[in-house]
């Protein structure tokens, strides 16, 4: 259990989540797992980048250096993406969408660094889905008021209310399962290849890493953020505006 905690490829098929150590809390056994360690490493990477970016922007020069260029490129790209979908609501949600975009992207491509991607744990993605769910319904009640929400539930007829409630509740589940299953399938296929073909898996699995980690990870990040933005914009839009 202790060996190869952070490596996703081992001699036998192994892509499950393992506990690193456990402790007792109020009579419950709480496990610190591989996912916690990997999330911590991803957080440290993002924090280090943010510290350097902060310093680079504070000392910004008229002719930007290489690193300042990269930071400006990232911020501009995120601003354009969010502004293109959310329109006049973009200002309020730039922070949240930008944060989850960077977190999910770094998490997904952390398979390249030998970590088990944190997003291949349903606990992580479901938490992200719950945050989106809360944001959707907070904004729904804020912008459409209680009467608008009830009217939305009872459309087209009041008898459809249970179906509308179920489809509202399905949003965080389907959002999080989509991200989880995509990243888990990539992790599982890479683990199978490394375990079953360990004698011939030299060099060429790198091409598969490009597809399963880089391409699939980037697409799923984009899709998660895009759907979150679409749902929130839907919730903000009232009939008058």
């Amino acid at each position: 259990m202790g060996q190869g905690i952070l490596l996703s490829g081992e001699t036998e098929v192994d892509f499950m989540i393992h506990g690193v150590f456990s402790y007792e809390l109020f009579g419950q056994t709480v496990w610190i797992t591989r996912t916690h360690v990997c999330v911590l490493i991803v957080m440290l990477i993002i924090m280090a980048f943010c510290l350097f970016a902060n310093r680079a922007i504070k000392r910004a020069s008229e002719v930007p250096g290489a690193f300042q260029n990269v930071v400006e490129l990232v911020v501009e790209m995120l601003d354009n993406m969010i502004g293109g979908v959310m329109g006049r609501y973009a200002v309020n949600f730039r922070n949240y969408i930008g944060t989850i975009f960077i977190f999910i992207l770094i998490s997904n491509i952390s398979g390249l660094l030998g970590l088990r991607p944190p997003t291949a744990d349903y606990g992580v993605t479901f938490a992200l889905g719950i945050i989106t769910f809360v944001l959707i319904h907070f904004n729904k009640f804020k912008h459409q008021k209680v009467s608008g929400v009830i009217k939305g539930l009872c459309s087209p007829w009041p008898i459809w209310a249970p179906i509308n409630i179920i489809s509202d509740l399905a949003v965080p589940v389907s959002l999080s399962l989509r991200l989880f299953a995509n990243i888990l399938s990539g992790t599982a296929i890479m683990a199978l290849i490394y375990a079953l073909l360990s004698k011939v898996a030299l060099m060429w699995p790198a091409a598969l890493h490009v597809y399963f980690d880089l391409f699939s990870g980037a697409i799923q990040t984009y899709v998660f953020c895009m759907l979150t933005m679409t749902y929130i914009t839907d919730a903000c839009t009232t009939e008058e505006s």
Binding site: M16, S174, L177, R178, A181, N182, L184, S185, A188, I219, Q220, Y222, V223, M226, L227
Partner: protein
């Protein structure tokens, strides 16, 4: 009736194989979406980036049903919920 563990594991493997047949539907759907996107780009090459992003979003949503089948297969094979 009592079944031994190996029999249940074998049945789980068959069930996992059947579950990933769910991948047929999303495959066909994504192909149709990609074909129509290619036709749209052919008609209006200027809108290539818009068409591509819309296509990717739609394909990712259509993929969900296939992923549910995959999840069932992975649960049957590696979590083994049916083994007592």
């Amino acid at each position: 009736m009592e079944f031994n563990t190996n029999f249940i594991l074998g049945c789980s493997a068959i069930g996992a194989g059947l579950a990933v047949i769910a991948g047929i539907g999303p495959g066909v759907g994504q192909g149709i979406a990609a074909g129509h996107a290619a036709a749209a780009v052919g008609r209006n090459p200027g809108a290539k980036s818009d068409v591509t992003s819309t296509m990717l979003l739609g394909q990712a949503v259509a993929e969900t049903t296939g992923l549910y089948g995959l999840l069932v297969a992975i649960l049957l094979l590696f979590v083994k919920p049916l083994v007592p």
